[in-house]
Amino acid sequence: MKAIHYINQFFGQIGGEEKADQTPIFHDGLIGCSMMLNGMVKPEIEVTNTIVCGDNYITNHTEEALKEIFAFLDTKEFGMFFAGPAFMAGRYGVGCGIVCKAVSERYHVPVITSMNEENPGVEEYKSVAYIFKGGRKATFMKADITPMAAFAKKIAKGETLLPAAQEGYFPRGIRAEIPCDTMAADRVIDMLLKKINGEPFQTELIIPAMEKIPPAAPVVDLSKATIALVSSSGVVPVDNPDRIQSASAQKWGKYDISKLDHLPEGVFKTIHAGFDPAAMCAVPDRGVPLDAMRYFEKQGKIGKLYDYFYVTVGTGTTQAFAAKFGREIAKELHDAHVDAVILTST
């Protein structure tokens, strides 16, 4: 298998900060740390070319830089792509992330890099690339390339890949099913006994630490406010016009309720695959309480119910998608001058 390696101007022997605007240079062979990498991945993998690009150029002129890099890569055959290691160098790390993400999306090959945990590139790109946990500075070059190379060889040989923590890269937020010889009931009791005995144990379902959002200021006067309904209940028009997935949703829909006082059975239904839908299909307002909101609007408790409700399916949906939906919906709500939201979930 052939591979190509991306490094910055410093490791590409062009120069330091003063050369950070360097446009991409495409070497016919290998230079700098590419040679060390090639030495470690042999014989399963051959690193054929080094791409060198200035950190400022890749981060500030991303579109142009990627265009040039694609023009070169389009002429090459390769089954794997490396970048870095970037250590603690922030722009280099982000540059490696940008290139890895773009290469992975365009060529569908494994992309492997390495950064120190403090590198801002980690947070931004760990879900799209194998980013190995690296040292803080270039003296860790050999130590950082070693696990990248070992992992690449495993991929090339088609060996079973272990979870992120065991392989040594930052978790990508992917859950994989793995067969286990011990049944779940035994494992959970083992875990409990360890917990009681004060011994270390590892949960099988890691819940990522949550960032806290400070509470938004309250609505000053409800009777003048526009309120929107948002829901993860999967209540949609019966033909599910936007084809929202019944589980692990990757999109949301918005539906006009401006002329409705409730959600009639047979016109709306829930497509949520996470519970028995009978009760909600019979009375969709049990999931999206349009009737109650309309009642409060008529009473004058709220100024107006917004003309559309927003909905997706909450079961199995990743946090990344949920956050994306939230950002997209928030933008629409701001554009429509919505003051507050009732979000119903199941």
Binding site: P215, P218, V230, F275, A279, P289, A292, F296, I329, A340
Partner: protein, 79 residues
């Protein structure tokens, strides 16, 4: 989803059954619902009782939107 909306300054009341989950994911205003398959209703109840239940919980959620909170807060509903 609610968190990203709240981040932009729009207050959100999350109505859900598993309040602890809502707390874990960082919701700030919460009202508990009846169940997962019928959050704001109950097929076992009479129409009138179900309506009372739904308007009570949605009313509590609306009041929550107009209430200043300093930390994640669960707002009770009469029914």
């Amino acid at each position: 989803m609610g968190k990203e909306i709240e981040r932009t300054g729009i207050p959100v009341t999350v109505m859900c059954n598993l309040i602890d989950v809502a707390k874990t994911v960082g919701s700030n205003r919460m009202v508990q619902t009846v169940s997962v398959p019928y959050p704001l209703g109950d097929p076992e109840l009479s129409k009138e009782a179900e309506w009372q239940l739904r308007t009570s919980r949605v009313g509590a959620a609306l009041d929550a939107l107009a209430t200043k909170v300093e930390e994640p807060t669960v707002f009770p509903s009469k029914f």
